[in-house]
């Protein structure tokens, strides 16, 4: 049985549908990515999951039980990192972490150890006595995370934790998430940065306009679409018949030749660059630069919705 | 003149907020003026009439005579016979004095030795004042009872004595109470409005980014400071004209009749300078809007309370008067009192007047000097 089961979830805000019959299954031990553009319903799913929002239809089960506002036993095992930094400006770094950890762990001695671990884990050592308004953006995000995960929850929900964070802090955060996962936490990760999701998530659901468009591992997702390898050849001079020959090569479904640059798209799996180079060698065609790209989640999103993820 | 214009634009942009605050301060000031200016100067002698409550438990000829007798001197109202009602009425100053006319008023109290119970603020002037009147009644009644045939005749005679009044002459020196009461509150208006409004604007200019941008420009620090002071001065003068006009309108008749009217307005100008300098100080020091708000309130309330603006100087105790002398409001209040209560200014009064104005101006310079020094120190520290 899945750790989290979401069935037919519908949430309306007056006239707009935020979630449209959403179904999700999240297994224990995975890093599950919720990918979608801004306003696609990622945060709404999270809020429904935490029973903070009313929804119109559907059911949510966590750890096999129906999630209710007073399901304190379930909540005890969840850690949440909100999209907005939610910490007290008047408390120091360690006091903040201690406070939020204290919502889950009443035992003081045990908490002290957990807080120290969380500080080391998020790399906030040296800043314990500082107030949040003295921290840089990246450190503040890390504090936000530390507050959510200090009690070592079984399920960690991170809602866009890397918004407006410098690359160094981002890498640190992503590494940390993988480490938590290795230590046994299941992770739900929402983002509109496909690179991050691709980098760390074991399974991904693509959301748009409150619907789940596709779900699976990244390979599965990429297999769902027609586009496979993409090959770019720059500084290439082709005659008309040569271009026609290339167009009719196996698996090629699109060839665009403009300003001495050729872009080829191949169907399905497999690499086709070598075959192409062989042909060019035979025909004595030279080129300046050539490279091959495997499909990205952006391609998946593009092909499913017809628009770019970053729109 | 970019900096100069910037201030005026900032003022214009926040006009609605400022109008709102100005009207609040104005309402408070007008309320205070109305509260304190109950007395008027009729020009001839008038005996002070107090509100007196009477409880008549006796309901006899003599109790009624006492009530009628008191009515000749005071505003008398009949009260419920409840101690707590009486106490509350006295406490809330609805009445200042209550007398309970007991049963058997004639036997036990007029002819006997028992005193009549009264209720008022113990040790107060009203206690002595009305007690004297009631004593006089009781004694006169005894004299009349001894000197006439019947009680009715005695009572009539007692009442007739109420018509007798000594010859009292009021040698009036000039007293412009209305002018005094209205213009005494001016510092509150200046300090609250200027500290709040100018403090907010000046704080904006203290914003690090704006300051760095200005520092990076070709303007010299000196020219920046001069321009900002000039902008302050412009707005201050505007505020001065506005507030003094409001003051004049409030008591137009007395103001135009006063021989010292232009000195009063000049005195207003000096305190405006003091308030303006204080606002420059507040704006240079405060870092957040909340801090401006807090400082403006503390400055305006503190200066006005301790400087004899809210409570006349004569009522301040010695220690407070000494502390008050450090505030420009004290000298303002002293000047206003000189100007309102003297028609001719003697040499010593004139000297006092000029001294007061000079001190107000000196205060302004001191404030600006400190603010500029703080500003300079801050620039270097960043």
């Amino acid at each position: 049985m899945a750790m989290i089961e979401i069935r037919n979830l519908v949430k309306r805000y007056k006239d707009t549908i935020a979630l449209d019959h959403l179904n999700l299954d999240i297994e224990e031990g995975e890093i599950f990515g919720l990918l979608g553009p801004n306003g696609s319903g990622k945060t709404t799913v999270i809020n429904c999951l935490l029973a903070l929002l009313k929804f119109d239809k559907g059911s949510i089960k966590i750890f096999g039980e129906e999630m209710q506002p007073d399901s304190y036993e379930i909540k005890r095992q969840i850690g949440i990192v909100m999209q907005n930094v939610a910490v007290f400006d008047e408390l120091t770094v360690s006091e903040n972490i201690d406070y939020f950890c204290g919502l889950y762990v009443p035992d003081r001695a045990k908490r002290k150890k957990l807080v120290e671990e969380a500080i080391v884990f998020t790399g906030l050592d040296g800043y314990e006595k500082k107030r949040p308004n003295k921290l840089s953006g990246g450190l503040l995000r890390r504090l936000n995370i530390a507050c959510g995960i200090a009690h070592k929850p079984r399920l960690v929900i991170l809602d866009e934790p890397t918004v407006a964070v410098d690359p160094q802090s981002r890498n640190k955060i992503l590494e940390g998430i993988c480490q938590m996962n290795r230590q046994g936490s299941t992770i739900i990760y929402t983002s509109h940065y496909m690179e991050e999701v691709e980098q760390i998530c074991s399974r991904i659901a693509i959301l748009d306009k409150g619907k789940c468009l596709a779900m699976g591992t990244k390979e599965e997702l990429k297999n769902m679409i027609k586009t496979g390898e993409k090959v770019h050849l720059e500084g290439i001079r082709l005659t008309g018949p040569q271009l026609e020959t290339i167009r009719h090569m196996p698996k090629v479904f699109s060839a665009v030749y403009e300003e001495e640059t050729l872009t080829l798209r191949f169907e399905g799996n497999g690499n086709h660059l070598l075959g192409l180079l062989h042909y060019m060698d035979r025909e004595h065609i030279t080129c300046g630069r050539c490279f091959s790209e495997l499909p990205t989640l952006n391609d998946v999103f593009l092909e499913i919705t017809g628009k770019e993820l970053r729109d | 003149m970019k900096v100069y214009k910037g201030y005026l634009i900032a003022l214009k942009r926040n006009l609605s907020t400022f109008v709102l605050y100005c009207s609040i301060f104005l309402a408070v000031a007008v309320g205070m003026v109305r509260l304190t200016s109950g007395e008027s100067n009729p020009g001839s002698y008038q005996q002070t009439r107090l509100s007196i409550g009477v409880v008549d438990r006796d309901n006899s000829l003599w109790s009624k005579t006492l009530v009628e007798y008191l009515e000749a001197y005071h505003k008398v109202s009949s009260m419920e016979d409840h101690m707590d009602t009486l106490a509350e009425a006295v406490y809330s100053t609805e009445i200042l004095y209550a007398v309970i006319i007991p049963e058997d008023f004639l036997g036990t109290y007029i002819l006997g030795e028992q005193p009549v119970q009264t209720l008022t603020e113990s040790g107060s002037q009203w206690e002595y004042y009305v007690n004297g009147r009631i004593d006089s009644f009781v004694n006169t009644a005894r004299v009349c009872l001894a000197g006439t045939e019947s009680p009715e005749e005695a009572a009539r005679q007692v009442l007739e004595t109420a018509q007798i009044q000594g010859n009292v002459v009021l040698e009036s020196s000039r007293e412009d109470l209305a002018v005094y009461n209205v213009f005494r509150f001016m510092p509150y208006l200046y300090f609250s409005i200027l500290c709040f409004v100018m403090g907010m604007i000046q704080k904006e200019y203290q914003n690090i980014d704006i300051r760095r941008r200005l520092l990076a420009s070709s303007l010299t620090l000196k020219s920046q400071s001069i321009q900002s002071l000039l902008a302050f001065f412009t707005i201050g003068v505007f505020c001065w004209v506005l507030c003094e006009c409001i003051g004049i309108v409030t008591c137009a008749g007395q103001f135009w009749a006063s021989p010292n009217k232009w000195l009063i307005v000049l005195n207003g100008f000096t305190i405006m300078c003091g308030a303006l300098a204080a606002s420059y100080f507040v704006g240079s020091l405060a870092k957040t809007a909340a801090a401006v708000n807090g400082m403006a309130n503390v400055f305006s309330l503190g200066f006005c309370f301790l400087g004899g603006v809210f409570v006349p100087l004569e009522l301040l105790t010695g220690a407070v008067r000494k502390i008050g002398q450090f505030f420009p409001t004290y000298w303002y209040a002293q000047n206003i009192s000189i100007l309102s209560f003297n028609s001719t200014l003697t040499d010593s009064l004139q000297r006092k007047l000029i001294q007061g104005m000079v001190i107000q101006i000196l205060f302004a310079f001191a404030c600006i000097a400190v603010a500029l020094a703080v500003g300079k120190a801050r620039r270097q520290e960043e």
Binding site: A86 | Y45, Q125, G147, V168, V320
Partner: protein, 378 residues
Amino acid sequence: MFLIMKRQILVNIREKANIFWTMFFPLILATLFHFTLGGLLGQNEMGEISAAFVLEDTASSAVEGDAFFEYLDHLDQEWLKLTPMSDEEARAALKEDEILGIFYGGRERRLVIGENSIHTSMLSQLLDIYEKNETLLNRIAQEHPEKLPGAAAELAGYRASTETVSFGGRSMDNVQNYFFALIAMTCLYGSFMGMYNTVGVQANTSALGARLAAGCVKRYESITASLLSAWIISFAEVAVLLFYMDVVLGDIDLAGQIGRILVICAAATLYSSALGMVIGTVGSLSEKLKNGLVVAVSMTCSFAADLMISGVKGAIEKYVPLINRINPGALTTDAFYSVLVYEDAERYFRSLGLLAALGLLLLGIAVLSMRRMRYESI
């Protein structure tokens, strides 16, 4: 729950603006009140009145022997300080405000004063009584000469015949009410704390609230914690103010009444905290707007309790007494009055009961609207 409370209190105390307005501002006002209204406190107290006596148009310049002077001199009124002077001296003294009036004896008795005030009225009252007695005796001598000795004897036995009722030596000075109103205002400021703390635990009003709601803290615990922390802090602030006003400044005298006064303050701060909580739960207004609302409500209540101008509460009592029964400011000053000015147990318990009951009512409303945990939108 204690952890939430502890943190909430810490957060409230470290929030500078909050502490400035709810604690230091009342302390500053109390100090200012002390120095200025302190002068007013004794304003109505009877002091000494100086007057001059000038003898005119008589052969001898010795005032002794003049009947009017003898009368004034033997009045035995401790407040009158009478000095015989020459006319020029007296006029100069009057101009310099050294004396308040000049009694002229001799052929034409009169009183010359420089201003209309209760003090000069008292001087004129003395003249009146003298004239009155003289007229009276003349009249009796004419109408009933046989009774003149008796009447004259009565007149000689002039005595005070009044006695002021005192309430255990407590002052009836109305200026005290400003101090009571200040305490009431400080109690009312508890609503700020109630509002902040409520906004902080609701998912739909702040991100922190959402985090708290997502945690496994029971709802009733977080509500109770936010109320208790607000209540404790505002009560502590009022206690500090009371201590300052009683011990340091000495403007109010709590001797022997501390228990009852603290009970009032506890009830008043409960009321205010609950009021703040209700405002905190109202709709989805921004915190800034709610702050404005709290300022407006607390200042209106203070105004109606005579903080700025005295007489407002009395006028309300006359026309819409109901307002005084629900305004926490008026209820607090009422309760203070019934303890410190005029002992009135009924009124004390009525005010206390109303404060507590209305506080609990508001608390109920706040809890009902906070009990919800799932929101339509966040």
